[in-house]
């Protein structure tokens, strides 16, 4: 089997938001919508104050509550672990938005662009009218993953078939790959380090692992 996951090393993330920008460029998300964002968390009491950066997105859960509640089957989990939305089936009821504990989903009801009513070049290329008034979220760049089957490349190893955010990260904080393949980057990395998944107690089985220390 294949289970695509992401591993994000919180020790390395510098909060530069390059991944956020790369995602916006790759997916032409409208203003105000970020499929990938980076939380900037300040915590503690002076003088012991911490600042942590936490990249978040759709976690492509093992047991996606968004899929369970979706009345139309627009939201589905694929055999490789990716959770997808069929824009032609979705009715935009937002039940999945309520079900997702990671605030990963958005619905926008009109076409909006970064600079007014007309799309800039990169937005025009990727604009998808089918995404208006339906649910949308990070896809793990599913089009690239699917390209791998055609070209024989390996997601997580070959940049052409790896999510844009992972490719863009300036500090190498992100890895992507098949958790069921013990030789993949992510499998090796997760075996060598200590990691957690967000809101593990909810039983959703998120496909994003956060590395916080070495093993």
């Amino acid at each position: 089997m294949t289970r695509y996951v992401m591993a994000i090393d919180l020790r390395r993330c510098v909060g530069c938001q390059t991944c956020t920008a790369a995602c916006k460029n790759a997916n032409a998300t409208p203003p105000g919508v970020q499929w990938r964002r980076v939380l900037d968390i300040e915590s503690g009491e002076f003088p012991d104050v911490r600042r942590s950066f936490v990249p978040i997105s759709c976690m492509h859960c093992d047991e996606p509550p968004c899929e369970e509640v979706c009345p139309t089957t627009a939201t589905k989990k694929r055999a490789d672990g990716l959770v997808t939305i069929d824009y032609d089936t979705c009715i935009g009821c937002a039940n999945c938005v309520m079900a997702c504990p990671y605030e990963a989903r958005s619905i926008v009801h009109e076409a909006k662009f970064a600079y007014g009513d007309t799309p800039i070049k990169s937005e025009a290329v990727r604009f998808d009218a089918a995404r208006i008034s339906v649910s949308m979220k990070c896809t793990f760049c599913v089009d690239r993953i699917d390209e791998a089957a055609r070209t024989g490349q390996v997601p997580g190893r070959d940049p052409d078939v790896t999510p844009a955010c992972v490719n863009s990260c300036i500090s190498g904080a992100m890895s992507f790959g098949d958790l069921d393949d013990p030789t993949s980057n992510v499998s090796r990395l997760l075996a060598e380090t200590q990691s957690f998944r967000m809101h593990e107690e909810l039983g959703t089985g998120p496909g994003v692992y956060y590395i916080w220390d070495k093993g």
């Binding site: 090393d9 919180l10 020790r11 993330c13 964002r37 939380l39 900037d40 968390i41 300040e42 915590s43 503690g44 009491e45 002076f46 104050v49 911490r50 942590s52 936490v54 978040i56 509550p65 899929e67 369970e68 509640v69 979706c70 009345p71 139309t72 089957t73 627009a74 089936t89 979705c90 009715i91 935009g92 009821c93 937002a94 039940n95 938005v97 309520m98 079900a99 997702c100 504990p101 990671y102 605030e103 619905i107 009801h109 208006i132 008034s133 339906v134 200590q194 957690f196 967000m198 809101h199 593990e200 909810l202 959703t204 956060y210 590395i211 916080w212 220390d213 070495k214």
Partner: protein, 303 residues
């Protein structure tokens, strides 16, 4: 220098949801009351009462709620897609019960046959239950997924249904005994509802919930108890004294009880619906230092 607690930045703690507005709330408000009304109209029919007007009222409420939802969804002309996921989606199941309600209800009105009246009541009850399950399946909203939210919603749906029968009873039933029965049943259901509500609030506080949810629910606790339940119960007791007070007291008692339920449901769907927010069980180790303590901003209660 005085130690200063730093707050987590924006958009980390729970946020109020804005996708489901008053239209979605209306479905739970009107649909729950309508389903409850159908269930108690069916029960009242067993006592030989003509409940056709009540059935019509229940269907109208459910229909109004569903119409509001239709206006809320992003692609209303695809609404039939809602029937695709009977396997796990309670929204599909709610939608699947609706035609059964309307079909049986129409047959009950046309034929007056008791079987159809009873079936309409059963499907009305199923509608109330399905709505409660819709909210409890939404894991992203802690105040909804709490296990005590579901019984509270079912309890208020049925209490509202009985209360609507109470409102109508001076018009549809002439016997004092019948009105006394309605007052007693409504009173019992109000008690169950209050217990379910208090248990829900206590559960949320004990298990932890977003502070915004706790605040919003606490704000309606007083008015709900005083007007929606206590005052309504006092008027029901007055009604129990019999004619001519019965008819006069049953109407405001029922309206107050329904209003209380609607206030709670509106608050639950709109004001208390805060998201999970983000939390870290470990802050990352930087350099040689140790890991930082866990963070979970914006949560109150025991957790």
């Amino acid at each position: 220098m005085k130690a200063k607690t730093l707050k987590a930045g924006e958009r980390i703690g729970p946020r109020q949801q804005h996708h489901w507005d008053w239209r979605a709330a209306s479905n739970f408000i009107a649909g729950g009351a309508g389903g409850g009304l159908l269930a108690f109209a069916a029960l009242a029919s067993l006592a030989g009462i003509d409940v056709r007007a009540l059935l019509l009222g229940g269907m109208a409420l459910i229909g109004a709620g569903l119409t509001c939802v239709w206006f809320e969804i992003g692609k209303p002309w695809r609404a039939l897609n809602v029937y695709r996921h009977l396997a796990t989606s309670w929204m599909t199941r709610e939608a699947a019960v609706a035609p059964l309600v309307f079909g049986c209800g129409a047959l009950a009105l046309l034929t007056g046959h008791s079987l159809f009246v009873l079936l309409t009541g059963v499907f009305g009850a199923a509608f109330v239950y399905a709505q409660a399950r819709i909210l409890s399946a939404d894991k992203g909203i802690p105040a909804w997924r709490h296990p005590r939210c579901r019984p509270m919603l079912v309890a208020t749906g049925f209490a509202e249904g009985a209360a609507l029968v109470a409102v109508a009873s001076p018009f549809v039933m002439t016997s004092a005994a019948g009105q006394l029965g309605v007052a007693a049943v409504t009173l019992g259901l109000l008690l169950v509802r209050v217990l379910a509500w208090r248990s829900y609030l206590a559960g949320l506080r004990a298990d932890g919930a977003p502070e915004g949810s706790l605040r919003a629910l606490a704000a309606v606790d007083g008015p709900f108890l005083k007007f929606g339940n206590l005052l309504a119960a006092a008027l029901l007791l007055l009604a129990a004294l019999g004619a001519p007070l019965a008819g006069l007291a049953l109407i405001p008692a029922g309206l107050l009880a329904v209003g209380g339920g609607w206030l709670v449901k509106y608050t639950l769907v709109r004001r208390a619906a805060f998201t999970q927010g983000f939390a870290l069980p470990h802050l990352p180790v930087r350099g040689r230092g140790p890991a930082g303590a866990a963070v979970k901003p914006g949560w109150g209660g025991a957790n």
